[in-house]
């Protein structure tokens, strides 16, 4: 009897600690990043591209990487959206009576979601070599778009699945065809959920480094066309951290603050939206 009690108490304590660890780790990570990064974060860093010798500790900033990351992730999200939105609608509206096939496609996309981004990067680079293309913003955008495609489709798919069956029937009985029901009714009905899905994909896109290292290249200049190579924040952090110079390392931490900040904003925004969605 007593042994039972003791065992339960031990495990309950362990469980409690495990849960505390979840919150604790997030705080530890944020503290570590901000404490190391904030002191080196300057206005110049945010607004200037690197000047000569930036990576040896001279003047300049990471404006090229911040803008590069924004261009790249926004471009990739826009491109992915053009494919993801119709596919998600198609699966739920046009293929409504082919449950089996839809489930197979879902399984395929869940699997696709699992392929690491480095594999996408390697694959895209292979194609680029075959086509004789050089690393560019465009190539990066396409690669990242393919990489976030399954994420976006599956999250939108889940949103649409939550819509009651009656809506499709109601729309059809008004004389609309399926395409019109999809684009005129469902998009409106699911808009908040779609925005959350887009933000989720945006967070993935902005934080990824492995898919862009070969494809988008790296450049100290702010790209002015999609055919130029572009720097991205995660890579800027990575390269600066590899420097033996203390000051450059500190700038890596400062850049990490910027990236963390961007991702937190996206995260909180999508949280806020999905909460609003629930209150509907």
């Amino acid at each position: 009897m007593n042994r039972r009690r003791i065992e339960e108490i031990i495990f309950r304590t362990l469980m409690f600690l495990a849960t505390m660890l979840m919150g604790g780790v997030l705080i530890l990570i944020l503290i570590a990043i901000f404490r190391n990064g904030l002191p080196s974060l300057t206005w110049e860093m945010l607004t200037q591209p690197p000047k000569g010798g930036y990576y040896f500790g001279r003047e300049g900033g990471i404006a090229n990487a911040i803008l590069g990351s924004l261009y790249l992730s926004l471009g990739a999200v826009a491109l992915a959206l053009i494919i993801a939105l119709p596919v998600a609608l198609f699966l739920n509206i046009h293929m409504k009576n082919y449950e089996r096939w839809v489930n197979i496609i879902r399984f395929l996309m869940d699997t696709l979601w699992g392929i690491p981004s480095i594999v996408y990067g390697a694959f895209a680079f292979m194609i680029m070599i075959a086509l004789g293309m050089k690393a560019s913003l465009l190539a990066g955008i396409v690669t990242v778009a393919l990489f976030i495609l399954p994420i976006m489709i599956r999250s939108m798919d889940e949103v649409i699945r939550g819509v009651p069956d009656g809506l499709l029937e109601a729309g059809l009985s008004l004389g609309a065809n399926r395409t019109e029901v999809a684009f005129l009714i469902f998009i409106r009905q699911c808009s908040t959920g779609f925005v959350t899905a887009i933000l989720l994909a945006l967070g993935r896109a902005i934080g990824d480094a492995a898919a862009v290292i070969f494809t988008a290249g790296f450049s100290d200049r702010i790209p002015t066309s999609i055919h130029q190579p572009a720097a991205t924040l995660p890579l800027a952090i990575f390269f600066q951290l590899n420097s033996p110079i203390e000051e450059v390392k500190n700038r890596a931490y400062a850049s990490a603050v910027v990236l963390t900040f961007l991702v937190l904003i996206i995260s909180i925004l999508s949280r806020y939206l999905s909460k609003k969605l629930k209150n509907h």
Partner: protein, 301 residues
């Protein structure tokens, strides 16, 4: 032609065009995994013509300049790091998931959920930086305490960072699993005279077992393909790690560090593509395993 007919034609055309667009998108998505697989296979075929697959996988000799492409150290490093990560992550996620779905008050879950989401959304480079700032020195101190003189960049450091990265991922799945187990199962077990903990240990965990296996599979597949964070803390020395405090060189790190350079060396890119192909196959294996068990689990509920 009157207006009505025009509108009808317009709607028909619009319907056809949009459906074409939808089907094209679907085709892209469905063909993508096969295209990736085929592409990587064709590229790695070049090296497989000259060396047997098992020679490449089993050899420890990595000297691209003299045409030796032994992948064994990289595969083994990846396996070690993944194993350490899952050994740390699974118990923590499991304990926490049970706590959140049984003992904890509902408001705790309401607070923890956003934390999990934020953790899951942090970019891997941020985890990498944290690893460099906090985990590597921590591992170094532990090693020193145990009498080893090392840098701290090691498969243990990589395993810890990776564990923290996959905990939110596994935890989210486990919470869903435990929530899908009907409360009545707990009720009937309690009414047989079991304590809360006995109920969890003997009935709930058993019921959730397929789900736990599935979460583990998905966690492994996530961990195996993780690149940047691991690359930053693993040390990247081409050697079979002889202990957890020793550096390792995982497969994704091999790819990212070498691909795109020195492509003039014969078969070098082919060897790397083989590495990418294997990476994809291993990840997909665990992923499909996990997804499959979870589908079976949901059917039984």
């Amino acid at each position: 032609m009157n207006l009505k007919v025009l509108i009808k034609i317009f709607r028909k055309t619009r319907d056809y065009l949009t459906q074409g667009w939808m089907i094209a998108g679907l085709a892209i998505v469905i063909l993508l995994p096969f295209a990736i697989g085929a592409g990587l296979y064709i590229k790695s075929h070049n090296i497989l013509v000259q060396h047997s697959f098992w020679d490449l996988v089993g050899s420890t000799d990595w000297k691209p300049l003299s045409g030796k492409f032994g992948l064994y150290p990289f595969i083994l490093s990846s396996l070690w790091i993944t194993l350490i990560a899952i050994l740390i992550a699974l118990p923590i996620a499991l304990l926490s998931a049970i706590h959140l779905t049984t003992y904890a008050k509902p408001w705790v879950l309401r607070w923890v959920h956003p934390l999990i989401d934020i953790l899951a959304g942090l970019p891997s480079v941020i985890y990498g930086i944290w690893g460099v700032i906090a985990v590597v020195p921590f591992v170094q101190q532990i090693a020193e305490f145990m009498g080893y003189k090392v840098s701290g960049y090691s498969i243990l450091a990589a395993g810890i960072v990776l564990a923290i990265m996959i905990i939110p991922f596994i935890l989210n799945i486990l919470i869903e699993i435990f929530r899908s187990i009907p409360i009545e199962l707990t009720e009937v077990t309690l009414s047989l005279g079991a304590t809360r903990w006995q109920t969890i240990k003997k009935v709930i965990l058993r019921k959730a077992l397929p789900g736990i296996i599935s979460a583990t599979g998905l966690g492994i597949s996530r961990a195996f393909g993780e690149t940047i964070a691991v690359l930053m803390v693993a040390g990247n020395v081409v050697k079979i790690p002889s202990g957890i405090f020793q550096p390792g060189y995982p497969l994704p790190a091999l790819l990212i560090n070498n691909y795109g350079e020195m492509l003039s060396i014969p078969l070098y890119d082919s060897a790397l593509m083989l590495a990418a192909f294997m990476l994809m196959l291993i990840v997909l294996f665990f992923n499909v395993l996990g997804r499959y068990t979870i589908v079976r689990f949901e059917k039984r509920m």
